[in-house]
Point group: C2
Chain length 316, copies 2
Amino acid sequence: MPKKSKKKIHPVKCRFAAISPKAKLFNRVKVAFQGEIGAFSEEAVFKFFGSNSNIQTIPCQTFADVFKLVEEGNADFGILPIENSLEGTVGQNYELLLTSDVNIFGEEILRIRHCLIANKGVKIGAIKRVYSHPQALGQCREFLEKLKLEAIPVYDTAGGVRMLKEEKAEEAAAIASERAGKIYQMKILKKGIETNKQNFTRFFIISLFIPLLQKGRDKNLKKETKRAKDSKTSIVFSLKNIPGILFQSLEGFAKRKINLTKIESRPIMGKPWEYHFYLDFEGHQEDKKIREALEELKEKTLFIKILGSYPTAKWR
Amino acid sequence: MPKKSKKKIHPVKCRFAAISPKAKLFNRVKVAFQGEIGAFSEEAVFKFFGSNSNIQTIPCQTFADVFKLVEEGNADFGILPIENSLEGTVGQNYELLLTSDVNIFGEEILRIRHCLIANKGVKIGAIKRVYSHPQALGQCREFLEKLKLEAIPVYDTAGGVRMLKEEKAEEAAAIASERAGKIYQMKILKKGIETNKQNFTRFFIISLFIPLLQKGRDKNLKKETKRAKDSKTSIVFSLKNIPGILFQSLEGFAKRKINLTKIESRPIMGKPWEYHFYLDFEGHQEDKKIREALEELKEKTLFIKILGSYPTAKWR
């Protein structure tokens, strides 16, 4: 009798394995992102989870689709751009976080570096038209003007590369990530063509999967878990429109020396004098001083939701 | 000898005339905006200044161009979208405000209502493709899916309408404002096709023109001026990264019962632990209690800039 083949289970070696041993039980991890294969969001997935053959990325048309896949259990994780250094906050994703049951599981920061990409054999001098998302075209405007190239908008940076390949275009190029160029086996004519190099996007990784450390009340489970040394927590809340109430609401954080890393008010549309406040701060919701500060805050809020505690992303 | 024709000078009847009598001296007011004729930004210009033949709008390719025209005196005012209820803050415009010498002169809020627009004689059943800016296409996705229409991205909502007219397209439509449809004498097939009706954009009107009330230190000038009853002030500042410093910086506003209407932290890219804080609050920089609160804030900031005081926009 031949030896029974022993199917090897590859443990997922990634940052989330470090914060939860349970994660190693996953054989294949599905991660939903908005955009086409080769998009910056997909690049952020691999930066976060590591370039591992056990990671399966699922392209989605919209951010709402990313949430849906995660909520219905058809993806283990989703990734969402949440703010960009040039364009600002992605408000839509904050709105979706507000109403969804998903948790913020982690964050990632990606430097956005645009490349000029063409079919193999195409020389830069032959190019007349350049396809990309309007935002990417805008971010590379100086380069396009210098070379007198016509900018043509398409839906998606990586989608422009795919189109170019399908059409075997000889007088056109696309602007997308280096990774998109490699995936479609195209030629990278020039790297880093963006005007402003301080172009970073911060992403949230979302899941329904509650990291064990968040179930910490169970003593047996708690023993197994290792919390990330540097954690951050994101919350959203609303306050009555009383002068000074925002100041009062931050008091509980200030007196416990909890460092705020983001604060943003967003008007609740249709209710001109009401706001949602989005707050990120250092520390984990299970930390004693964070728990106390949140209890104190609750007394002043009309509404509060903890979006998640997660390991702080490093600027790598 | 024939009677010498007396050229009639039309005073500009608009909101800014109400806050500064000097403004009436303008014969023709030039206002720069980003986009093509018929863009939502241009609509906001007329909502703010009133539909007056003395208003000349100047289309610009980029936001930076809007700033440049105003800074060089080639436009009296510029208009900038600063936040949208669905998309969030327009970070780029905040960055430009930070480094420019322009003043915020006013604010305006516009409801964004998308229309399906086609050439005259074209019936809705004949349409196969729809042109618009990717953001507008995304905001009308449910409508497009229901009618099984192919969405084709273009640079500009109003630009899509112009293109349609030039091409005399019979199987295509555009998504843009009702006003864009009227300007290009096209047929409005359907109004309000956006999925989410809570779609508002807030604009800043910028100028180099310092309203007289801001020169209030000059007693003679002060007498002439009438400050808007409800004013708002926008500032930007940075703080040292000390826990609780943001809380302390807001103390001066809280104890004077100054109502904050917007707060937003934006990381200073390349300096991971430093932030710029954008703050809007009720009151004018010439008000006694605002002056005191700003003096108190200055003691805690590394940097502070007053972007302007302006009459509060009404939700009309």
